[in-house]
Symmetry: C2
Subunit: 522 residues, 2 copies
Amino acid sequence: MTAAAETTVREAGVGRAMMGEATGVEQLKATLEMAQAAFEEGRTAAPAKRADWLEAIAAGLEWDAAALVEIAARETHLGTPRLEGELKRTIFQLLLFAAEIRRGEHYDATIDHTDPAWGMGPRPDLRRYNVPLGVVGVFGASNFPFAFSVMGGDSASALAAGCAVVHKAHDAHRELAARTAETVTAALNAAGAPSGLFALVTGRQAGEALVEHPLVKAIGFTGSTAGGRALLDRVAARPEPIPFFGELGGINAVFVTRKAWSARRKEILTGYAGSFTLGMGQFCTKPGLLFVPAGETAETGAELANALADFTPAPLLSERLHGGYADAVRRLQETEGVDVLLEGDFAASPAPTVLHSTADAVRKDPDILRQEMFGPASLVVEYGDESELARLAELLEGQLTTTLQAEEDDDVAGLAARLADISGRLLWNGWPTGVTVSYAQHHGGPYPATTSATTSVGTAAIRRFLRPVAYQSFPASRLPEPLQDGNPWGVPQRVDGVWHRPTADGNRKGISEVTAGQEGQL
Amino acid sequence: MTAAAETTVREAGVGRAMMGEATGVEQLKATLEMAQAAFEEGRTAAPAKRADWLEAIAAGLEWDAAALVEIAARETHLGTPRLEGELKRTIFQLLLFAAEIRRGEHYDATIDHTDPAWGMGPRPDLRRYNVPLGVVGVFGASNFPFAFSVMGGDSASALAAGCAVVHKAHDAHRELAARTAETVTAALNAAGAPSGLFALVTGRQAGEALVEHPLVKAIGFTGSTAGGRALLDRVAARPEPIPFFGELGGINAVFVTRKAWSARRKEILTGYAGSFTLGMGQFCTKPGLLFVPAGETAETGAELANALADFTPAPLLSERLHGGYADAVRRLQETEGVDVLLEGDFAASPAPTVLHSTADAVRKDPDILRQEMFGPASLVVEYGDESELARLAELLEGQLTTTLQAEEDDDVAGLAARLADISGRLLWNGWPTGVTVSYAQHHGGPYPATTSATTSVGTAAIRRFLRPVAYQSFPASRLPEPLQDGNPWGVPQRVDGVWHRPTADGNRKGISEVTAGQEGQL
């Protein structure tokens, strides 16, 4: 494809998206072929160069921040301060990933030299590192139009890994998607990245064709359980199966011990009210379930009403979500064993609702614990005996997070062990909304929270889009840089079982570490 | 379940397997429940303790080696020296995995301390490590009755990860499976491992029920593409999807450059003949395809006949495999564009067959390149122009290995890049049979070589059976050992982005490494 033709394809794509026009099947095919060509051109780039590309995207988003936030506020009804914070997080993520790949951690470079005395018989020279998968299809979410959308965690980690990305725009923020893609594409071009390394497509048909196309080697998805499962099943039916990294539904149960309840009831209910209504309850980590000791139902209702007295409702992300929210709340409210603790409404800007049930009721009908209400609603379940909590936890499906509100001397070891079984992140006396982007973050959890054992947030997300390749007895001059004894890129290498991390001056033999200051500047 | 009941369940299972009786659905259920209980009891064991269990299994297999090899030779027709070597490898693998988990690499322990100045906003204390998935179902292969069967790579890596294993015995070596399981169980019991941590089931019905049971959290499989795909599809249809680590078919193409052919034709053909007939060609890494320059067909045939003149055929692993082998060779032989270079036969102990085709023919019908013949047969394809090779490589499906036979100054960078796209291990002037167990090994490759981006051989195989869990703001006293600042188990920890590996004397601040000598003793 010529440069002029490429520009036409890209501009046609962005133009169509802005007009709300869906990507046709031929257009998708051309986009994927361009992405594949860009992947092949860019995949051997040194990590420092790829990091430059990520930093260029970050700078582009920073430069265009005012316009992006203005469009996002109009399309999503999320407040400007929240959107500014989300964009900051999105930019930070690109910079953190750039720093991570400059270090070269993601290569997992491993070198076994020839060893005639190896225990199972002579060992040949064998070296392994990670290479990018290829073109990745990314489906963004409506609730985080920056952080989990066009240039959110999935796109940023796939690009960091060395993949090309074709992003399926979410219908709930099409103009923002087109603008973001335009900014990203311009930044990548200016930085000299291969043309087509990132592209946007729109419409359901393009999305379905994306997961089925042979050039696509992995999918990143954030959205509903129903939508995610439908795509997962489509992926599973491909002649060549590919990984589907889906973040689907979740309830994010919170468990309050008797002692914590006695000591901090007001504080806990205030924190809970703030967390489940944050962003109008449209967080994948919203605490949708609170287990509290029985016996103070009226006081709890009054406390919640008090905590939410000054709450100003806003419209939900889309009409469709609003309808789904109202249906979900009404359905749960009408279930036997469930009543209303705090009456909300389903106005255009809905007032928060808190439902109420008991341990006895949910034991009879565990489905009460499995209903996601995507919006400002949550369920309080009263328990009698604290020792029941571990068994109640076993009634839950997989969760992104679970939270313990407990005192230092509470005996919750058994409960915590159960929570580790069913969730990806456990919090102690905190609230699950707010997901920091860092080295240790794990934003994932057993199905249906996600469809894999990976994270979609934090530096570990990069690993999803890599696969290992080993080289046996290759001449030194033909080895990829991360596997060379001379280590020209200065990446960590595990040599004959022992990790060596170069110092800043490239002294590999020093067996010391990259200094901590480098990423502290971010 | 009482200890006596457990013993009954276990002995009934082993006894039935020895009599060739299939495991019933109720028996499978009881076995899985025992495995789950054993998993829960054992999963928090310190790595040193779990390593003891692996070493106890290794010692048990060593102790019972003579009997195991005798049974294996009778059931598989594989020669005694080969089986002794395979058992040695299997024992070594257990010891290597024990050393690996003693080091604690597999926890991937990552600690982010509170950081009020973190770039996207204040960071809470967040710590992540890997925990075992739960009960793992393992399907062994017939062609490696030790290394890829009852206590082969999948079982050893799952146990090393902290999982419980329920192994579905291969019908082709039932007595060996039962004896191995008995030895393993006795060794685990003597070492004080939880009862039921390893169990054996038999029969197709138990195998199908195994992949569908909710207690099973991952599957390891080595076998045919058809069998693997059928199980994969069954797994994909589960309400809760689980990872399916399948190693399926493969061709293991070898590419000979003109210069290498001129310089080393005889040596190359001798190596090829030895490799494709090793173990009667029943290796998943058998070189099933050799690309050579056109023009010396008769000489090639004569050379191969010469190299195999002293070859003594043996029976294949099973009647069923023999039938499948004969069908596959005949089908390919009758394909247009394919003829016979070295005439073999389909006797009970079949003489090797080499088929022949050309670049033109395989371009017309790429399926010629995609027919696995599981037994002592291979296909030689003659090419005209060396520059065609990269495009010919693109006609191949995913491979476990690809091999270059080339000279130092050959220009094969483009071809090598293509081979890295389609295979998991690239060899230079070697032969793909023989897979060392080490840190850098990667025994995997794009579909249909495997169904994931993971390895089933080497220390990296352990990671397949783990998932991350993060702890946010947890009190120090309640953190799992690998995440404690005091690092009581002395595992590697990535702290605020920087890796720290304790020295042998537990000096964490030293930022130095475990000494290399420890595993050199294996």
